[in-house]
Amino acid sequence: MQKLSFREKLKDTAVGVGDSLKGSAFWSSIFRPGSPFRKGYTDSPRNRSYVVMNNVLYHLHPVKVKRHGVRLSYTLCLGGLSFFLFIVLTITGIWLMFYFRPTGELAYVDIQALQTSVAFGSLVRNMHRWGAHLMVLVVFLHMSRVFYHGAYKAPREFNWVIGVILLFLTLFLSFTGYLLPWDQLAIWAVTVGGNMAGYTPVFGAQLKFILFAGLEATAATLLRFYVLHVLFFPFIIVIFMAIHFWRVRKDGGISGPL
C-alpha cells in the first residue's frame, strides 16, 4: 500500500473534521434547513426557495423577484448600497465613539489623538467621513433612479414620501456629524448652515436657538449635535427605513418593467 504523504494526511484530517463539524447538531442548530452552509446542500429549485425562506433575509427579500429587476443596470443596487453604507457608518461610528468626548476642550484633542495614536484610527475616521459623503450621494442617485423609472406611481406614492423623509434625515445626520471634529471647517460650516435655518419665517430665531443651544455655535452646540448625531437621528432613520423596506414588499416589489 502506498504511504500517504504528510500533506495528504493533513488534507484528509481537515476534510474529516469539516464533515463531522457540518454534521454535528451544533452546526445544524445554527444553519436552518435549506442553508447552503448545511451538510448535504444541493442546488435545486426547492432548496433555492429554502435559502431565502429559512433565512433572516426573508424579512427583506421574497423567494422570487421579477427577472428585469435583477439586472444590475436597472437599479444599480443604489437602494441596497444606501442601506449598506448606513450599516458601515453605524459600525465605524460606534468604533469612533470609543475615542471621542464631545466637549469644547476635548473633542478636537480626541480627533488628533485618534489620527496619531490609535491603531487604524485615521483609516476608520476617513471611512466614516467619505462614507457619509458617499451615502448622501448614493441616496440622491437612488431617488433620481426611482424618478426616472416612474417608480413612485401608484401604488408606491407613499413610499416615495418616506423616501424623501429618508433623504432629509440622511442630510441631517451628515450635517450634525459635520460639527463633531470641532475644527475651523466644522464650526463655520455649521454656522453657515444654522444661519440658513434662522431665515425661516415666523419662528426662525427660535429654530436657530434650539439648533445651536444658544445664539451661535458653541460647546453646547457640540454636545447637542453629538446627541442628535449618535442617538436621535439614527433612531428616527431606522424606523423610517423599516417602513420603507416593508412598503417595497407590500407594494409589489420592484416597479416596472418600463
Binding site: 433555492r48 431565502v52 421574497p62 422570487k64 423577484v65 421579477k66 427577472r67 435583477v70 444590475l72 441596497g80 448600497l81 449598506f84 458601515v88 469644547g104 478636537y108 480627533i111 483609516l123 475616521r125 476617513n126 471611512m127 467621513r129 467619505w130 459623503h133 458617499l134 448622501v136 433620481s144 424618478f147 426616472y148 416612474g150 413612485y152 406611481k153 401608484a154 406614492e157 416615495w160 414620501v161 424623501v164 423623509i165 432629509f168 442630510l171 451628515s174 450635517f175 459635520y178 471634529p181 470641532w182 475644527d183 475651523q184 471647517l185 464650526i187 463655520w188 460650516a189 454656522t191 453657515v192 448652515g193 440658513m196 435655518a197 425661516t200 419665517p201 426662525g204 416597479s255 418600463l258
Partner: protein
C-alpha cells in the same frame, strides 16, 4: 370484431326492441348485422321521460351511421316547420329561456403571470458582490485621501470664505442671488421637502415608460441640472468674499476637499 358478452348484447337488444317497437329477436339480428336495420320515420308517442331519452339517442345514431337519403327527410322536415322550433318538440315545455349568463368566476383573478427568478442566487449574489465592491472602494479612498482637520474651532476667527457642507453649497450659492427668505427657506422647504413629497400626487400620469412622460423627465432633469450647477459653482468657483474664482487659476476654496486637492497637486 370484438366479442361482446352474450348477456350484454341481449340487454341492449331488449332496450332497442322496446325503443323501436320490434321484437327482441329482430333487434338482435339487426345488431349482429344479419338484417337491414329498422328505421323509424315517426317517433312513437312518449309516455315517460326516461323512455324518451333512450328513444332520442337510438335513431339519431342510426341516421348518422348509415342514413339512406329518403329516411333523413322526416327529421329535417320537423326542424323546418315553425311550430316545432323548440329544442325538444315532443316534450311539453314548462320553462322558458329568460337570459343567458356567461360563465364567469365570481372573484376576478387579477394575477397575471410575471417572469420571475429565484432571489437566491440571482439577486443575492450580485447584491453581495456590490457590497464587497463598495467596501473595497471605501477602504481604498480612505487609505489614500485624508479627511480634513484644520485648526481647533475658534468663534473669533471667521475664515473667508466660510462654506457649508457640499450638499448645502447650492443653497448657499442661491443665497448670494436672492433674499434669504426665498433662497434659504422657500427653496429647501417648499421646493425641496414639500414639493418633492408631492410629486406622486401631482403627476397622475400612470405610465412609467420614459417616452410617455417626457414633461416629468424634463422637469426633473432641469431641477437636477440647476441644483448641480449651483453646487459646482459653490464648491469650485467661489473664493474670498464669495467672489468668482477659477479653480485652475486661484485654486479651490473648499477645505473639505483639501486632501483631494493636494492629492491632485493643485492646492492654493
Amino acid at each position: 370484431m370484438v366479442d361482446i358478452p352474450e348477456h350484454l348484447l341481449l340487454r341492449s337488444a331488449e332496450a332497442r326492441a322496446k325503443a323501436l317497437g320490434i321484437s327482441v329477436e329482430q333487434a338482435l339480428a339487426e345488431m349482429k348485422g344479419e338484417t337491414e336495420p329498422t328505421v323509424v320515420s315517426k317517433e312513437p308517442e312518449i309516455e315517460e321521460a326516461p323512455a324518451a331519452e333512450v328513444k332520442e339517442e337510438a335513431p339519431a345514431a342510426e341516421v348518422k351511421e348509415e342514413a339512406p337519403a329518403a329516411e333523413v327527410k322526416a327529421p329535417a322536415k320537423k326542424v323546418d316547420s315553425p311550430e316545432e322550433v323548440d329544442f325538444a318538440p315532443e316534450v311539453k315545455v314548462t320553462q322558458r329561456l329568460l337570459t343567458v349568463v356567461k360563465a364567469k368566476p365570481i372573484q376576478k383573478s387579477v394575477s397575471v403571470p410575471v417572469d420571475k427568478v429565484n432571489t437566491w442566487p440571482h439577486l443575492m449574489l450580485p447584491e453581495f458582490i456590490a457590497l464587497m465592491a463598495m467596501t473595497a472602494f471605501l477602504i481604498l479612498i480612505s487609505a489614500i485621501l485624508q479627511a480634513p482637520l484644520l485648526e481647533e474651532a475658534n468663534p473669533n476667527i471667521t475664515p473667508n470664505p466660510a462654506k457649508a457642507p457640499w450638499y448645502f453649497l447650492g443653497l448657499q450659492e442661491a443665497l448670494s442671488y436672492w433674499d434669504p427668505q426665498i433662497a434659504g427657506v422657500m427653496i429647501p422647504l417648499v421646493v425641496g421637502m414639500i414639493g418633492f413629497m408631492a410629486i406622486p400626487y401631482v403627476d397622475r400620469n400612470p405610465d412609467n415608460n420614459p417616452s410617455k412622460r417626457k414633461y416629468a423627465i424634463l422637469m426633473y432633469t432641469f431641477f437636477l441640472a440647476g441644483a448641480g450647477t449651483l453646487t459646482v459653482i459653490g464648491v469650485l468657483f467661489r473664493g474670498p468674499g464669495w467672489n468668482w474664482t477659477y479653480p485652475w487659476i486661484d485654486g479651490i476654496w473648499f477645505d473639505d476637499l483639501l486632501d483631494w486637492v493636494n492629492f491632485l497637486g493643485d492646492g492654493h
